[in-house]
């Protein structure tokens, strides 16, 4: 009797757990994860009555790869880099997303025309466009640098430089600063001479460079006065400049921007709810909601029509701070995921070897 009772209680518990259907979203944590929690997870959960939680990872892509390969998927939606969304999709680790099912823009434009080109891929829908930019301290340079080339000009703008320790976006930045047009960057970088040219440009500031790895380090180096200017993720500089009132100025010339994508891992426990979440999050309102917390651009035309107000202070207009703002796009490069899936390992080995020389 007692045994039956225990067993039935356990079974009831299991049934309850299966019914609860809590949707788990995995993202990068920090200010970025917080923006997605406030902009997507909480409102979606409130609107549908489905419990949803956000979990952090220092990079969701390898985490979901490990889960799918081990056959133990606990995440329904993950926010991954664009190149990872494509790579994992090619490896059959993601659920395809039906592009036709994505909601039309707030103004009625069909999703296919509303999203920026490339924002919707076979298994991923872009949630924002973020950018690699460089920033300087306005109290150090009243007449600040204006172009990518200025970053490499140690005579005109003396002081240490901060650069992300990795090949991606750094090599492109060096070529842009060396006068390569954005349209030609990946053609040039695809040749051995082009790679040499990028490293030669980096050689000119190598002795003066401080390398950072975590996104939070860049604004910290700038705040500590360790560097006169540094490359950074634009959202981090925005958070420090607008959020905390630091005298930082972003230089948009030579920015290298890319999409971030929501994906559904293959075998996600709540696949249908996950698809519903993505439709909500990448709707015009969903994208605008996220962009009101962090200065990454919404990848839909309809989401960029009306001004977005920063939720942190309730008054700053996000427009000029977004990578997608037309004024910021004059000399900008869209990251080529095709190039980096092919050459990531190769160029990073070269980069590490160059660093330790």
């Amino acid at each position: 009797m007692k045994k039956t009772l225990i067993l039935s209680t356990a079974l009831a518990g299991l049934a309850f757990a299966a019914q609860a259907q809590e949707v788990t979203v995995m993202s990068w944590g920090g200010a970025y994860g917080a923006a997605q929690t406030e902009g997507h997870v909480k409102p979606w959960s409130a609107a549908t009555g489905t419990p949803a939680i956000m979990v952090d990872s220092d990079n969701p892509a390898p985490a979901i790869k490990a889960m799918v390969e081990a056959g133990n998927v606990t995440v329904d939606v993950a926010s991954v880099e664009y190149a990872d969304a494509i790579r994992l999709c090619d490896e059959g680790l993601l659920e395809p997303i039906d592009a036709a099912s994505l909601p039309a823009g707030a103004d009625g434009t069909p999703a296919a025309d509303d999203f920026f080109p490339g924002a919707v891929t076979e298994c991923g829908v872009s949630t924002d466009i973020w950018s690699n930019v460089y920033a300087y301290d306005t109290s150090k340079f009243p007449e600040g640098p204006k172009t990518a080339a200025d970053f490499f000009d140690l005579e005109k703008f003396p002081g240490k430089r901060g650069l992300r320790k990795g090949a991606k976006a750094v090599l492109e930045f060096a070529l842009l600063a060396d006068g390569v047009a954005p349209a030609d960057v990946y053609t040039v970088l695809g040749t051995p001479e082009g790679v040499d040219r990028a490293f030669a440009k980096l050689d000119t500031i190598k002795a003066e460079t401080v390398w950072w790895e975590a996104g939070a380090q860049a604004p910290q180096l700038l705040a500590d006065g360790e560097v006169a200017m540094t490359t950074a993720y634009n959202g981090r500089i925005f958070a420090a400049a607008v959020g905390e009132g630091k005298p930082f100025q972003i230089v948009w010339d030579g920015q290298i921007y890319e999409n971030e994508s929501y994906v559904v891992p293959k075998g996600a426990p709540n696949k249908d709810l996950a698809m519903d979440f993505i439709k909500y999050a990448t709707s015009t309102e969903g994208l605008r909601a996220q962009a009101s917390y962090i200065s990454y651009g919404p990848p839909r035309k309809s989401a960029n029509v009306d001004p977005i107000i920063y939720a942190g202070d309730g008054k700053t207009e996000m427009g000029p701070h977004l990578p997608t703002n037309p004024a910021n796009l004059t000399n900008a490069l869209l990251t080529s995921s095709d190039f980096w899936v092919d050459h990531d390992a190769e160029l990073n080995e070269r980069f590490q070897a160059w660093l330790s020389q």
């Binding site: 790579r87 994992l88 490896e91 490293f199 050459h343 070897a353």
Partner: protein, 417 residues
Amino acid sequence: MAEAATELLKTADGRPLKAALAEAQSRAKRRAFLLVLPLLVFVLLTFLVPIGYMLKRSVEHDGFAASAPALDAWFEANPGFDPANPPEAAYAALVQDLARMQTEKTTGIAGTRINYTVPGTISLFKKGAREAGALVPPFKDAMLAIDADWGKPALWRGMAAASSRYTTEFYKVASDMKLTEDGWARGGDKERIYLYLFFKTFLISGLITVICLLLAFPISHLLATLPMAKSSLLMILVLLPFWTSLLVRTTSWIALLQEQGIVNDLLVGLGLIGDDGRLSMMYNMTGTIVAMTHVLLPFMILPLYSVMRVIPPSYARAARSLGATSWTTFRRVYLPQTLPGIAAGSLLVFILAVGYYITPALVGGADGQLISNLISFHMTKANWSLAAAIAAMLLAAILVLYWLYDRLIGIDRLKLG
């Protein structure tokens, strides 16, 4: 007397004493084994199994082999084919496999596997797979028309090697070898990195071990000889950083040593250096060594202390009373008795330093990278086989050092307390 000895000794209930003793002993042994069983299972599950799995990963990758059966069969049937000019049959198998990859969505996995040794392959595979279904013979010309790279000897060498699920290629990559058009060769000057980093990792770890020993020896001696009240206080000073989070300690060093940091500010304030002559002590090798030495110091102090505490002071006094100078006393009487502690501390610090990751990542800058940072890089890029191969090489190197240590010093002389 003689009769009594031949008669078997018996217990009170009449059993032979020998048998009763053996049974009691085996019962005690079983009980002792049951006590350590949880630990054994734990070690097996959390340590040996993952290491075994890692070693397997380093030689196994079926990303290509499992998704290209036609090519697998062809490569097996034609082991001596000319990679510079594969025949039409090979291209026919290739087209068949590419079409299959397209329907089964395995292009990415197969392309990624080949991309490890032949960069640029993923997009080549994707492009080829998209069009493979519509191709008509002759397939060789059709494939070369899509992309001339399909005729590259390195690509065919790479595919032939990857058609077996077991491979040593990851170890070759981890030894700075590159797959060229003519087969495996030593990488160019600008590309070699792994062996150099292995060498550097061991050098730095050795240096940190020596610095730790030099710093820890006098402190441990003080700890062991001071009166209880004072040594307890000193012990807390040693242990307090030990209890503090590693990240906190590492970032504190950044705050102290960076160019606009406290130490530089102090030196400038005292007029010892000019404002433009601030020392670079962070984001380089100096920073790595300072921060790692600090983090690892307790691992040297504690074993040394526990050994020194039990060395009777009378030995040193006896040596002095017999006319030895203080240096001779130290060298011939005190130091040899601390050797087990030195050995234990050095081994601990060295092995921990070799695998150190987060501190060099944060304070290492350009030249403070260690091999573990590259393992981490390949882990995050999901190239687990290469990460496993580098890790296995690190493990092998440590085992060799451990063996050497056992031969030279003897592992039984190790004493942790």
